[in-house]
């Protein structure tokens, strides 16, 4: 009952920015298939005309006024990073011109 193939795991892991080993891919496909199998119990439930619930609070319009509050200084902003340069975070180049 392979609900999730190894190919699906590969595609999804790329989308989720996770690098997996072959071993992980095989194991995950198996484990996730059994879980998705369980989850498919909802497949046949009728949800016609039922609204989606994304939150369980009744409140709306919880907004802030446009007021400036104190920020970090540069040192605080950068202090947990392992890779900085002249006040910037430094990362290996991914894509030019974008």
């Amino acid at each position: 009952m392979t609900k999730i193939s190894t190919d699906t795991v590969k595609v999804i892991s790329k989308l989720a920015k996770l690098k997996l080993t072959e071993e992980q891919i095989n194991k995950f496909a198996l484990d996730l298939s059994s879980i998705v199998g369980q989850m498919e119990e909802i497949k046949n439930l009728d949800v016609k005309n039922i609204a989606e619930t994304a939150r369980v609070i009744d409140e709306e319009n919880i907004l802030r006024e446009d007021i400036i509050t104190p920020s970090f200084n540069q040192e605080q902003a950068l202090k947990n990073s392992k890779s900085i340069h002249n006040g910037y975070f430094l990362v290996p180049q991914i894509l030019k011109d974008d």
């Binding site: 989720a16 992980q24 059994s34 998705v36 369980v56 919880i62 990073s81």
Partner: protein, 471 residues
């Protein structure tokens, strides 16, 4: 043992100067030093000299009007940002993360004068119900070291049950406070979503995450909830509803009140011994004058699927920020359990599956909310088991993905509706603690305390200590 006393007693003794914060802090460390190498309740412990110095100041500056938790040691789940103090969320990705700010709940406790002893062990990111999915050694149940303490807030539950601290702050997404409270024989509260600010709580699933107190008794919880609740302008989802004086209602009778037993929670899948223990508890409530009825929550049998589809979708999103650029290590450091959860969540949200999985789950969430609201029209509270089974052996759940998930059957579903739920000890089976949850109306924490407190006046389960503490 001082820490075995209630918060109220401790506060009174401190104010009368019969004991000192230094005594309490010393006792905290002595318990930790004695037991934690076997239990792994803590991930990071503060320097003893530093906390003792803090205790000395508290002893000096204590006033009659000081908060009831002033000068008490406490611990907090490592899911909360503590400014400049290591915060890992149980995963090596954040092994050297020193947050530049503090969680609101932590600030509130500190501002009331309590002394942080350390940060508690947990399933990484809240991903688990056993405190095995941690990069800081799997935790053990003080009642049986070969078994899990529950999770994900296993660390706080162990610390309280072994009297390392008088109270702690946990986090409950789908049972993470209730489950270990039940397995370690302590009292824990999952608050109504929005009752306590989530700011600074490292998110698992943002639409369910709730910040709650864990302690030895309902009375202790009532004091703590009042301190940590309230509107936070920096958490848009924190409620503006007035914070009640939760302690005041304790002792008021529950005569004539109605307890609903959701049929679906007592069917197959529930361990028979656990079932028996909880049904015995109903007798106590009947003795206190409450009426027991059966109620229906028909779709709750699908609850665990609905619950997982939503929380995993949200966690796949919440963990996107860990890219190692601004803080923390590489994404490869996520555990396999976490990686699986991210992949499943990403899958449930992805094009082509979102309608069938994530969105369908959201619709069913609406159904669950309706059923829950209907049930609570017929009764004041619901009474239900916390776990389908007794604490598993270590290694059992983490190696059985499906069983691992089904553990959240009774708790996750309640989280989906945002309801408050109080987990308290209900007895023992095979020498292991069995808890029950009293589920209330939204923002009905006071009523839960009312039931729980009277129950704890009639029983002494919550006072029993794990064998590891000796006599």
């Amino acid at each position: 043992m001082l820490i075995d006393k209630s918060i109220k007693e401790l506060s009174s003794l401190l104010k009368k100067k019969e004991i000192s914060s230094i005594d309490l802090v010393r006792e905290s460390y002595s318990q930790i030093e004695k037991l934690d190498n076997k239990l792994h309740s803590f991930i990071t412990i503060r320097d003893k000299k530093e906390t003792l110095k803090e205790a000395e100041v508290k002893d000096k500056e204590r006033k009659d009007e000081s908060s009831i938790i002033y000068g008490l040691p406490f611990s907090i789940k490592d899911a909360y940002c503590t400014k400049n103090f290591r915060t890992t969320a149980g995963n090596k990705i954040l092994d050297d993360f020193y947050p530049p700010y503090s969680a609101t709940v932590y600030k509130k406790i500190i501002n009331s004068g309590s002394i942080l002893i350390g940060k508690n062990n947990m399933d990484a990111w809240g991903h688990g119900g056993s405190t095995e999915n941690t990069d800081y050694q799997p935790a053990h149940n003080p009642w049986d070291l070969t078994r899990i303490p529950g999770g994900s807030s296993g660390g706080p539950a162990i610390a309280i049950s072994t009297r390392m601290v008088p109270f702690s702050i946990g986090e409950d997404t789908g049972g993470s406070i209730r489950n270990p409270s039940s397995m370690c024989n302590i009292s824990g509260l999952k608050v109504t979503y929005g009752r306590v600010s989530r700011l600074g709580n490292i998110a698992y699933a943002s639409s369910l995450d709730s910040v709650g107190p864990m302690a030895k008794s309902v009375e202790d919880l009532s004091f703590l909830l009042e301190i940590i609740s309230g509107k936070d302008n920096y958490d848009s989802t924190s409620s503006r509803k007035q914070v009640e004086n939760y302690n005041q209602i304790l002792g008021e009778p529950i005569k004539g009140k109605i307890i609903g037993l959701p049929k679906e929670f007592f069917r197959k899948g529930l361990d028979l011994k656990a079932k028996g223990t909880i049904l015995k508890a109903t007798k106590i409530f009947e003795k206190l004058g409450a009426k027991i009825i059966e109620v229906n929550l028909p779709h709750f049998i699908y609850g665990v699927s609905i619950y997982y589809l939503i929380v995993l979708s949200e966690t796949s999103s919440n963990l996107g920020r860990y890219d190692s650029f601004r803080y923390g290590g590489e994404r490869e450091l996520f555990s396999d359990e976490t990686k699986k959860r991210i992949i499943l969540g990403t899958y449930a949200l992805s094009a082509g599956y979102s309608d069938k999985l994530y969105k369908k789950a959201q619709k069913l969430r609406t159904v669950l909310i309706e059923e829950y609201e209907n049930a609570l029209k017929k009764c004041n509270v619901l009474l239900a088991p916390v776990n389908p089974s007794l604490p598993s052996k270590i290694g059992e759940l983490i190696n059985d993905p499906l069983k691992n998930i089904l553990e959240d059957l009774y708790t996750g579903t309640i989280s989906l509706v945002g309801a408050p739920s109080l987990s308290i000890p209900a007895g023992f089976a095979e020498g292991l603690p069995v808890g029950m949850q009293i589920i209330g109306k939204k923002f009905g924490e006071a009523e839960l305390f009312q039931f729980g407190y009277l129950y704890q006046q009639e029983t002494d389960w919550h006072k029993r200590l794990p064998p590891i503490l000796g006599k």
